[in-house]
C-alpha cells in the first residue's frame, strides 16, 4: 500500500497525471470524432453486411494501437530514471540507508507504479472500447472482452519491467532511448511482418520479428489482442475478418504458450532487476 500511495503522489505531484489526462482526453475526443464520422457517414448505394462491424473493428484496433503507444510512452518517460536517475541525483543515498532489502524496494517501485499504469490502461481501454461498442453496435462476448482488456494492460506492465531493469544498468537518458527504440523496433518488425506476409511472407523477417518479440513482446500481445477481439464478436454468419483489417490483421497470432512465456519473461525481468540493483554500487 505504501508503494502505491507513494507512486501515486509522485505521478500526481510531478503533474504527470495532469498532462497525461489532458492529452488523453484530447486523443479520446479525436478518436470519437473520427469514429463518429466513420460510423455515421451516408452509404451511397447499399451498405454491405457487417460493414459497420468491420469499420468499428478497424477503429477499435487503431484506437487500441495508439492508446497502447500512449501508455508505453507514459511508462517510459515516467520510469526511465527510476533507479539510475535516483542514484545520479542522490535520492537513493538516504533511502538505501534504511533497513529495507533492495529487492523489496525494487519490487515496491514496480508494483506501486504498475498499479497506476494498470488503472490508467483500464480507463483508456474503456474510453476506446465503449464508444466503438455504442457507435458501431459491436457485440462482444464478456470473456473475450476481459481477455482483450488484460492483454491491453499486460503490455505496459511488461514494458515497465523492461524499463526498470534498464534503469538498473543504464543512465536515465540512455535507458529511455534504449527502451523507446526497442519498443519502436517491436512495432516496426511486427507490422513489417504483417505487410510482407500479405504478399507471401519472408522467413528471415519472421525470424527477426520473433526474436524482437521475445525481447519486446508488446506488439505480439497486440496481435493476440486483435485475435481475441475478433473471436469475441458475438455475431453468427460473420465473414472472415481476420484478414480484412489491413495492417491490423494478425498474421502470426501468438499462441497461449507465448502469453505464458511473457509471464515467465516478466518474472525473469523482475528477478534480474532485483539482482542488478542488489549488486549495484551507490557511489
Amino acid at each position: 500500500m505504501m508503494w502505491i500511495a507513494f507512486a501515486g503522489k509522485e505521478l500526481f505531484r510531478k503533474k504527470i497525471v495532469l498532462v497525461a489526462s489532458v492529452l488523453t482526453l484530447l486523443f479520446v475526443a479525436l478518436f470519437n470524432f473520427g469514429l463518429y464520422k466513420v460510423t455515421h457517414r451516408g452509404h451511397s448505394i447499399v451498405q454491405l453486411p457487417f460493414e459497420n462491424i468491420l469499420e468499428g473493428m478497424t477503429m477499435l484496433m487503431l484506437g487500441l494501437l495508439f492508446a497502447g503507444m500512449i501508455v508505453a510512452f507514459l511508462v517510459l518517460f515516467a520510469t526511465m530514471g527510476t533507479i539510475s536517475g535516483e542514484v545520479e541525483n542522490g535520492l537513493m543515498l538516504a533511502v538505501l540507508a534504511r533497513p529495507i532489502p533492495r529487492w523489496k524496494l525494487y519490487l515496491g517501485k514496480y508494483f506501486g507504479t504498475g498499479f497506476w499504469i494498470f488503472l490508467y490502461s483500464t480507463v483508456l481501454f474503456l474510453m476506446i472500447y465503449l464508444p466503438v461498442h455504442e457507435m458501431a453496435n459491436m457485440p462482444m462476448q464478456t470473456a473475450s472482452l476481459v481477455k482483450t482488456w488484460l492483454l491491453f494492460c499486460w503490455g505496459p506492465l511488461l514494458l515497465l519491467a523492461v524499463s526498470l531493469l534498464g534503469s538498473a544498468y543504464l543512465p536515465m537518458l540512455g535507458n529511455g532511448v534504449a527502451c523507446a527504440m526497442l519498443y519502436g523496433l517491436g512495432l516496426f518488425s511486427s507490422f513489417a511482418e504483417s505487410i510482407i506476409n500479405a504478399k507471401g511472407g519472408n522467413e528471415t523477417l519472421s525470424s527477426i520479428s520473433l526474436g524482437v518479440s521475445m525481447v519486446m513482446p508488446s506488439n505480439s500481445l497486440f496481435s493476440r489482442m486483435t485475435y481475441e477481439t475478433i473471436q469475441g464478436i458475438d455475431l453468427p454468419l460473420l465473414p472472415d475478418i481476420m484478414s480484412s483489417l489491413g495492417p491490423f490483421s494478425p498474421s502470426n497470432v501468438p499462441s497461449p504458450a507465448f502469453i505464458g512465456y511473457t509471464v515467465i519473461y516478466l518474472i525473469a525481468l523482475l528477478a534480474l532487476g532485483c539482482r542488478a540493483f542488489k549488486n549495484k554500487d551507490i557511489a
Binding site: 507513494f6 503522489k9 510531478k14 541525483n89 543515498l93 533511502v95 529495507i100
Partner: protein
C-alpha cells in the same frame, strides 16, 4: 561495539578509494573521521552503510554484518550529497522514511509518529516548515531535514557525513549544539566532517584518513593535546620574569612571552604535555604575583595537526600505533 571493521577495502578504476581500514567505535563514543578531500572517507562510510560492496575486508555494524539490512535497523545516516523527493513535503519525507524503516502505512500516519516527526523537526529548526514541499526548501533547510531524517527512528548509532555543509554560521552552531546534546544523551555518533571546530568540540576519538589509508587513530587528547600550546593572558608581567618562570618549568614545557603591554598585561604562549602542567604553571605564576586572566588552547591546533598529517609522507606497512601516528 557499535561498529567494527577489519581491512575494509574498496578501490575504484581510477585507483582512489580506501584500503585496509580497521576501526572500532564503542557505544556512547563520538568519533570523528578526518581527512582531506578524496581521502576515501565517504567511500568508507558508504561501505559501512552498505551502499558500496567492499572489495575486501568485513565488518559488523550494530551486531550484524555490514551490508545486511538488519544492521541498519538502529542506524541514522545523513549522506553528504543527497536529495530528497522535492515533490514531497518535509513531513511526508519523514513518513516515507518511517515506512522504509519497516513501519506499516497506518503506523506512519499514527499520532505517535506525528509527534515524533514534530519533535525531530523542532530539534532541527524546521518546526514551522514541515508542511512545505521540499522544492521550496533552501539547501540549508534540506540539510536540516536530512538530520531530522537521521534522527527520526531514535537510532543507536548516528553517522553524519558533513552535517554542517550548506549551513550558515547559525546553522553550524545549532548542529554543534545538537551533536553535544546527542553526546550527552549517550548516543554513538560517527562524524565525517571538514569542520575541525566541530570535531574539537564534540569528538572523543578521531581517525585520520589520507590517500585511502588510515594514518592515525586515537583519542583527541592523545592526538592533539600532547605537546600542544595554550595562550595565557596575564597581568603584572615583567619581561625579566620570563627567565625565572622558565627555569621552574617541568620537562617538556616551554614559555614564550608574546604581546607585552607597558601596563604589565601580556599574552604568554605555553607549550605543555598535558593540562596538569598548565595547572602547575598557574601555581608558579601565582607565586610570582602574576594575575591570570585567561587560559585558552591555541586556536587552530587541530588545523595544524590536520595540515601536518596531510602533508606528512606516510609510507604504508610499517605497523600502527593506537593513539598515535600510523606510518
Amino acid at each position: 561495539m557499535m561498529l567494527q571493521t577489519r581491512g575494509l577495502t574498496k578501490t575504484y578504476a581510477s585507483g582512489t578509494g580506501c584500503m585496509d581500514i580497521s576501526l572500532e567505535i564503542k557505544e556512547g563514543q563520538v568519533f570523528g573521521l578526518l581527512g582531506p578531500n578524496g581521502a576515501g572517507k565517504s567511500t568508507f562510510v558508504k561501505m559501512v552503510i552498505g551502499l558500496l560492496t567492499p572489495d575486501a575486508g568485513n565488518g559488523m555494524l550494530l551486531g550484524k554484518p555490514i551490508g545486511h539490512p538488519d544492521s541498519r535497523r538502529k542506524l541514522g545516516y545523513l549522506p553528504e550529497l543527497f536529495r530528497f523527493q522535492e515533490w514531497l513535503t518535509g513531513e511526508e519525507v519523514l513518513r516515507y522514511h518511517a515506512g522504509l524503516s519497516g513501519l506499516k502505512l497506518s503506523e506512519t500516519r499514527s499520532s505517535r509518529m506525528a509527534s515524533r516527526i514534530k519533535e525531530v523537526l523542532r530539534v532541527t529548526g524546521l518546526n514551522d516548515r514541515g508542511a512545505d514541499r521540499v522544492r521550496n526548501y533552501s539547501k540549508g533547510m534540506q540539510q536540516r531535514l536530512g538530520i531530522a531524517c537521521a534522527l527520526l527512528m531514535d537510532p543507536e548509532l548516528i553517522i553524519l557525513d558533513e552535517p554542517s555543509s550548506a549551513l550558515d554560521p547559525v546553522g553550524r552552531y545549532e548542529v554543534r549544539q545538537l551533536l553535544e546534546r546527542l553526546r550527552d544523551e549517550g548516543k554513538t555518533v560517527f562524524l565525517n566532517t571538514h569542520l575541525l571546530e566541530d570535531v574539537e568540540a564534540v569528538c572523543d576519538e578521531v581517525a585520520f584518513l589520507h590517500l585511502g589509508k588510515l594514518r592515525a587513530v586515537g583519542s583527541m587528547r592523545e592526538l592533539l593535546h600532547a605537546g600542544t600550546s595554550w595562550d595565557i593572558t596575564v597581568g603584572g608581567w615583567q619581561p625579566e620574569l620570563a627567565e625565572s618562570v622558565g627555569r621552574s618549568l617541568l620537562p617538556g614545557m616551554s614559555l614564550a612571552a608574546g604581546i607585552q603591554e607597558p601596563d604589565g598585561s601580556a599574552v604568554l604562549r605555553i607549550t605543555a604535555q598535558n593540562r596538569e602542567q598548565i595547572g602547575y604553571l598557574n601555581r608558579l605564576l601565582m607565586e610570582e604575583g602574576i594575575t591570570l586572566y585567561e587560559v585558552k588552547p591555541v586556536q587552530g591546533r587541530l588545523e595544524e595537526w590536520f595540515l601536518s598529517m596531510s602533508s606528512a609522507a606516510a609510507p604504508s606497512g610499517a605497523g600502527s600505533v593506537e593513539g598515535g601516528l600510523r606510518a
